[in-house]
Symmetry: C2
Subunit: 161 residues, 2 copies
């Protein structure tokens, strides 16, 4: 339904937890599971993936654990989603060979641009910003930077909060 996977959501919760506790040396999987109220096996699985994606660094052994590989301001949502569920492409069009209409598809080039716009929107959001609850002084601007939908229909209007 045009949603990110639950696991991706959990992954962002975990990363946010790291960003919110910069004072702590390293967090192990068990601690994280307890503090985020997520199941331990799932947390372990996610942490492995995030290490593989180079967002976290791990340390084995007693007193081992995980910590952010770089500053929260240098990690954005597009990166996280890409690592946890692959490249951000809202259609399969751009994967060569999967679209029968590829040779003559008039929509393809426009989809590519839509994908780019969404990707850029997600790249603008850093982990540092997400970690700050009810942040109000920056966020409205992101929305405002998008051109206003002057001809928006009542259907989509009704979707807005």
């Amino acid at each position: 339904m045009f949603r990110i996977a639950k696991l991706t959501d959990y992954g962002i919760v975990l990363l946010t937890h790291f960003a919110s506790h910069p004072e702590r040396e390293a967090l192990n999987a068990r601690e994280l599971a307890q503090e985020t109220h997520l199941p331990f096996p799932t947390v372990g699985k996610l942490l492995k993936t995030l290490v593989h994606g180079e967002l976290l660094v791990s340390h084995r052994g007693i007193n081992g654990g995980y910590r952010l590989a770089r500053r929260p301001a240098d990690i954005n949502v597009a990166q996280i989603i890409t690592i946890l569920e692959g490249p951000i492409e809202i259609t399969e069009c751009n994967t060569p060979g999967t679209c029968e209409q590829e040779p003559c598809c008039p929509v393809q080039s426009n989809w590519r641009l839509i994908n780019g716009a969404i990707r850029e929107a997600l790249e603008k959001v850093t982990l540092a910003e997400i970690a700050i609850p009810k942040h109000t002084n920056r966020w409205p601007q992101v929305s405002a930077m998008l051109p206003s939908a002057g001809h928006a229909h009542e259907l989509t209007r009704s979707l807005e909060p």
Copy 2:
């Protein structure tokens, strides 16, 4: 994988077909299936949904068929996605009761804004624009209107075409 459903993609192809042939009175499901190279039952299913969503109007009986309910410029991608797969919310956060962390979740308010940004990006894209292949004089602006990602990491950079 953060993608719209195949059916949604097909639906947009169908609507694009209508927008590309404004001279034709009405198109029936069989014609559309042939001309878009999509399976007939699937086309029929989609057309019904689009009628229900008030993007198409139907006419039964001999010489029946479908036509757009309003001008292509007055139909945008956000509307289409909403009709075919529900409200555009990339996380379940905003659906009350589905998130255990709701009372204390620090991420919630920021996700809502991210959703809004994506929704607005999709609202900017009208069917009229999609129907024009390789449209170059308007599209780059949409991307440019988003602030440039100055601190984008090499990972996401590599995703760009």
